[in-house]
Structures are given as structure tokens and as C-alpha cells.
């Protein structure tokens, strides 16, 4: 053990550094590599052209999610390009001996949902995937981040990637979250405070009571959104909540191996007096249910607020005005009462069981508003089964909602789940970029509570008004 106080990030990073190149990046060993159909085909072509094998196929896990349909999954995929990508994923997995949960498999689902729920994601790992929301796995005290296709190829070929060591930031939030405030609100609040680029160049550790008291699902939501403030990733020190979540999962260690792993995992925390390049502190009491109004995730505010004036935001005036013009919003306009057309519950941000429990809590005993088209998409088949088992599906059905089948769906609209041009969607996903949910679609990011409140009222509504108990 080093005597110098060290951060959690440094402990995990240093334990995976195979080599540090002078005046260059570190060569980082990767414990788990997730792949999906969109960012892997060209990487496989790359190693094929070079004539090199996959070095450790047992460390790579494939799942189909980005462009899979969310209805009629038993039928052939209609879009020929999507079908071709899905076929390429399956044939590459088969050719190289990589485990795959293809469309139709009972374990299929969004990569960042199925990894943790099957115990593939374990504390202290390095995890990469050709998807920026790989930061999700940081909830387990992992260094997890998104990579490009060239890097996917590197990992296939060598189980390593080259990364300059990022700077370290710690965000501490103490206090107790108020009524109706969910982990998604904590994430959106942090991003609105530091902007969509405020953590660029940093890897972030989240600390303090708010995160200590958060479930694993909540921690995953927060770490998932790290990339939306520009951070390479975010992580939370593993604790009893983490160990209880992991224990007994399919691929988690068992027996003696568990004891050995647990002893190591318990060392994974930032030492007192360890130094960060940047420290930020927020107060839980200042966080109310959030909603975004612009075209980057930093343009969000408390749901009771009005849309800020250009002079009040950190984005440049021209970019801010372009953003509001796209949304057809005006400076000073209130958000409450704004009529909405679509509600999307799902994605790697909010497609887990707790998100469906939260949504159901609000819609229970109410009815879907007539002007709302709602897409409720579980993150995996395991989540889908749990929704049925807990009686949540009955609550949803009684309120006039239907459940779709798992996938990334309207988060990035690669399949048919596209929000039409000009329509407003309140979405539990992670990005409100222009056209993200379909060309011309207008996205307002929010929590499952807010999405549910909108789904039953048809307009932007403060969920606290619909939640009876604290």
C-alpha cells in the first residue's frame, strides 16, 4: 500500500496500467469490453484486414440494442440496414467465440443494463464500450468510459487501449433530497450548474450523503449522465449497497472467490486528504425536479422556473438563441403547463426497474392524457419480467399505457421509434440534441416522475403535486 493518500480513481487506474509511454498515453488493461451492433462491425473488419485474432474473447460481451425494434421482436427486422448490422454482430461473435445476447435472447437488453444485472460488471474493473454512456458502470467503482471504433479494434486485438490519464474532479452533495426528486434530477442539476462541457478533461467521483444513500439503479443513472457534462466518466466508491447488489448475480464470483474479491473491493475508496484537481460541492436542498428546455443537457432548470434569458446562461448568445429557436421556446417562458406530445420512459439512463416503479407510482389510479403518445421501453428482458412480476404492468395497463420490448429505442431513434418533426417529447433519456429523437424532434429531458406527471396531464407538470406522501 502506498502511504500517499490516493483517490479511488488512481487506485483503479494504476492497478490497470500495463505501461506508461513517456510523453504519451498510458496503456490500460481492460477487464470487460461490451460491444453492440453499431460501433463494432468496422472494428471486426479492421482486425480481419490485419489478420489478427481477438486476444481474449472471454472478456468481450455482445448484446444487440441500438437499432432493434421494440415491437414484434419475434419477427424479422424490417429495416435491411439494421438487419445487416445485427447479423454482422451475431456472425462476428460466433466467429471469434464471443458471448452474445442477440435479439430474442431472454437476456437481451441495453448493454449498460444487462452488464450490471448479470454480474458482468464488478467493482474496481476497467470497462469500455463503443458507446459514451459506458460511464454508467462507474456506479460500481469502475473506470468505465465510451470509446471510438478504432479503440474497439484495439481492445479486440490487445485487450488494451491507450489513454492519457484524465484530471480528477470530485463532486460532493450532502443533505437529503426533497420530495419528488430522483437521481436523474441530481444529474440534470449538476449538469445545469457546470454546463455540458464543465467536466471535459476530467474523470469525476461523486461523494457525499446523497450518493451514499442512493440505490445502485440511482447511482447508475447519475454515472450514466457524467458524459453529458463532458466528463470522461464518473464513479462512486463501492459500499454495502454495491456488494448487496452484486452478490448472487449470474456471473459474480461465488464462495471463496467472492470473499477474496470482497476484501479487495473494500479497499476501493478515496483516502482522506487525497487531492483532486477540482472539487465542487452542492447542497441537496437546492435540487428540485428538473427539466431541460434547450438542445444540450446543460440547458436545464428546476421545473417551476422560467426559461433563462441569454444573459443568464454560460452558453454564447448566438448558440443559445439557435437552441431556443429550434425548440420554439422564448426567453422568460414558463415550463409548467407547456403542452407535450410524446413521453418516453426508458434508455440506459432510466430503463431500470426503479424507473418503472417511479413512473407507476405517479400514474397509479390516473389515466393517460389523450394528447400523449407514450413509449415505455424496459432496458432489458429481465427488467420487463420484473415489471410483470411486481404487478407494475397491471398498474400501467389500467392507466392506459402499454409496455414495449427492450432496446435503446427513442433515445437515439435508430429504429422506428422516432419523435415526429416539431413535436415535443418529455424523455427520461440522456440527450436533447437537435434531431436526437428524430429529425426535427424537440426533447425535454426529465426524471421518470416528471415523465409520468406529463403522461397523465398532457402538459409539463410538477410531479410533487401528484405524489401524495413524502
Amino acid at each position: 500500500m502506498s502511504s500517499k493518500p490516493t483517490t479511488l480513481f488512481d487506485k483503479v487506474w494504476d492497478a490497470h496500467t500495463v505501461r506508461s509511454i513517456p510523453d504519451g498515453p498510458d496503456v490500460l488493461f481492460i477487464d470487460r469490453h461490451f460491444i453492440h451492433e453499431v460501433t463494432s462491425p468496422v472494428a471486426f473488419l479492421g482486425i480481419e484486414n490485419r489478420g489478427i485474432p481477438v486476444l481474449y474473447p472471454q472478456r468481450t460481451f455482445a448484446t444487440a440494442d441500438h437499432n432493434t425494434p421494440t415491437i414484434h421482436q419475434d419477427q424479422p427486422v424490417k429495416d435491411p440496414l439494421s438487419a445487416k448490422q445485427l447479423a454482422a454482430l451475431s456472425s462476428n461473435a460466433q466467429k471469434y467465440g464471443i458471448s452474445i445476447w442477440a435479439l430474442g435472447s431472454p437476456k437481451n437488453g441495453i448493454v449498460h443494463v444487462v452488464g450490471p444485472e448479470n454480474g458482468i460488471t464488478l467493482p474496481g474493473m476497467t470497462i469500455v464500450c463503443g458507446d459514451s454512456h459506458t460511464s454508467t458502470h462507474g456506479a460500481f467503482g469502475c473506470i468505465a468510459f465510451g470509446i471510438g471504433t478504432s479503440e474497439v479494434e484495439m481492445v479486440l486485438a490487445s485487450q488494451c487501449i491507450m489513454q492519457p490519464k484524465p484530471k480528477k474532479m470530485r463532486i460532493t452533495i450532502n443533505g437529503k433530497l426533497g420530495k419528488g426528486v430522483l437521481p436523474k434530477d441530481v444529474a440534470l442539476y449538476m449538469i445545469s450548474q457546470i454546463t455540458a462541457s464543465g467536466a471535459t478533461g476530467y474523470f469525476c467521483e461523486y461523494a457525499g450523503e446523497v450518493f451514499e444513500n442512493m440505490s445502485m439503479e440511482g447511482r447508475m443513472t447519475v454515472c450514466n449522465m457524467s458524459i453529458e457534462m463532458g466528463a470522461r466518466g464518473g464513479m462512486i466508491a463501492p459500499d454495502e449497497t454495491t456488494f448487496n447488489y452484486v452478490k448472487g448475480r449470474d456471473k459474480a464470483p461465488k464462495g471463496e472467490a467472492w470473499d477474496e474479491a470482497l476484501a479487495y473491493w473494500k479497499t476501493l475508496k478515496t483516502d482522506a486528504d487525497a487531492v483532486f484537481d477540482k472539487e465542487l460541492v452542492f447542497d441537496a436542498e437546492n435540487i428540485e425536479p428538473q427539466i431541460t428546455y434547450g438542445t444540450n443537457p446543460g440547458l436545464g432548470t428546476g421545473i417551476t422556473h422560467t426559461i433563462p434569458k441569454a444573459t443568464e446562461v454560460k452558453d454564447g448568445e448566438a448558440s443559445y438563441k439557435k437552441s431556443l429557436a429550434y425548440m420554439n421556446f422564448e426567453e422568460g417562458q414558463p415550463l409548467l403547463g407547456k403542452k407535450i406530445d410524446y413521453v418516453f420512459l426508458g434508455s440506459c439512463t432510466n430503463g431500470r426497474i426503479e424507473d418503472f416503479r417511479a413512473f407507476a407510482k405517479v400514474v397509479k389510479g390516473r389515466k393517460k392524457a389523450d394528447n400523449i403518445t407514450a413509449w415505455l421501453v424496459p432496458g432489458s428482458h429481465i427488467v420487463e419480467e420484473q415489471i410483470k412480476k411486481e404487478g407494475i404492468l397491471d398498474v400501467l395497463n389500467e392507466a392506459g399505457f402499454e409496455l414495449r420490448q427492450p432496446g435503446c429505442s427513442a433515445c437515439l431513434a435508430m429504429n422506428d421509434d422516432k419523435i415526429p418533426a416539431g413535436k415535443y417529447a418529455v424523455s427520461t433519456s440522456n440527450r436533447n440534441f437537435e434531431g436526437r429523437q428524430g429529425p426535427g424532434a424537440r426533447t425535454l429531458l426529465a426524471s421518470p416522475y416528471v415523465a409520468a406527471a406529463v403522461a397523465v396531464t398532457g402538459v409539463v407538470t410538477d410531479p410533487r403535486e401528484l405524489l401524495s406522501e413524502a
Binding site: 498515453p25 462491425p41 468496422v42 489478427i52 471510438g148 448558440s319 434531431g435 426535427g440
Partner: protein
């Protein structure tokens, strides 16, 4: 994948003074369905560049014949969002070899270096100087010298230096990629893997 070596680039530039240009704008998700790396340049900035009926939007800079060149100059936080390397492929395939901004998103920056595009980070002040120079004269020539790590407005001689680590610089100047390096250290990697807990 092989790319052209980068040494000195002298070119006019295309200005895009917009902040937070995210990778969904650079290449929308619906164009990520290819299983090969080709043709992405056609869909670069698709929804800013074309109307829904595929006619060009006249006011978008790539449709303005006054502007051309191998250098794209963008506002701060260029390349934010998704990790899709397709964004860098689209920029390269369109014909750009260098992107200049005051601030790049991390993943985009890494992807660019891996596909042979040089991301040049300049100060906010110098970025403003470049935008103004191009606005005054769209034929403004810029020289990017990787060896010296300088970017220069040729007409006035105004210049800044930029950072890049020695390893990546060497790779770009010689057209090498990381896999060449990683393959050469395979025995170190396999020895490391032996000790892995996971």
C-alpha cells in the same frame, strides 16, 4: 485503418462559429447503420446541410461556395456527445484534415487522432481572430505545422502554438496507429492478464 501522414497543412478554412457542435449534428444516428467505413462524408452535418426533401439549405456554410478548404474551424466544445467515431470518419471523408476549436470534447479528440485528423486547440482569443479573418476574407490561408506545433494566419503572421503529446505526434507524422504499438508489446499484456483478478 491507414490514413494520410500529417506534416504541414496549408489551406483555406470553413468557419462554423457555433458552440457545442455535438456528434449527432456531425452525423445523425440514422446514418450509423453501415458495416463498412465508407461514404460518411455525404452525410456530414446532414440535417444542418439538407432539408428533409434532400435539397441543400442555402444558408449552411458547407453549401456556401465562398468557403472551402481542409480545415474546419468550430466554436467551443466541438464534438460533444456520442462516442461515434463515425463523426470523425465523416469529417475526414468529406476532406477535412484538421479541426480547430478553443475546446474539444474528449472522446471526439481521441477519435480524431486515431483516424488521422489533427484537432488543434487554440485560445478563445485566437479562435475569434481566425473567425474574424475568415469573415473579412474567405480566402484566408491558415498553416498548421505539426512538427513545430504552430497554427498561423499566413496573411498577418499571427500565430499560436498548440499541445499534442509526443507519441500521438509521432504517429500522425508517420501514419502509424496504436495497434501497431500494442501488437509489439503483446508479451507484456499477456503477462499482465495472468495477474488479473477478473
Amino acid at each position: 485503418m491507414a490514413y494520410d501522414k500529417f506534416t504541414v497543412l496549408r489551406s483555406t478554412a470553413v468557419p462554423m462559429p457555433i458552440e457545442n457542435v455535438d456528434t449527432d449534428q456531425i452525423i445523425p444516428a440514422r446514418f450509423l447503420k453501415a458495416t463498412e467505413r465508407k461514404g460518411f462524408g455525404d452525410n456530414l452535418f446532414r440535417d444542418w446541410r439538407y432539408n428533409s426533401d434532400d435539397t441543400p439549405k442555402k444558408d449552411f456554410v458547407l453549401n456556401n461556395p465562398i468557403y472551402s478548404g481542409k480545415i474546419l474551424v468550430g466554436g467551443k466544445n466541438f464534438g460533444s456527445g456520442s462516442s461515434r467515431e463515425h463523426a470523425a470518419w465523416a469529417i475526414y471523408d468529406y476532406g477535412f484534415r484538421c479541426v480547430v476549436s478553443s475546446f474539444f470534447a474528449d472522446i471526439f479528440k481521441g477519435n480524431s487522432l486515431n483516424v488521422g485528423i489533427l484537432p488543434v486547440t487554440v485560445s478563445e482569443g485566437f479562435l475569434d481572430t481566425i473567425f474574424k479573418a475568415i469573415e473579412a476574407d474567405p480566402k484566408t490561408e491558415i498553416e498548421v505545422n505539426l512538427s513545430d506545433q504552430t497554427i498561423t494566419l499566413l496573411a498577418t503572421g499571427e500565430q499560436e502554438t498548440f499541445d499534442i503529446n509526443g507519441y500521438k505526434k509521432h504517429n500522425l507524422m508517420n501514419g502509424y496507429d496504436d495497434i501497431d504499438y500494442l501488437q509489439a508489446m503483446k508479451s507484456d499484456i499477456t503477462a499482465f492478464a495472468e495477474k488479473s483478478l477478473y
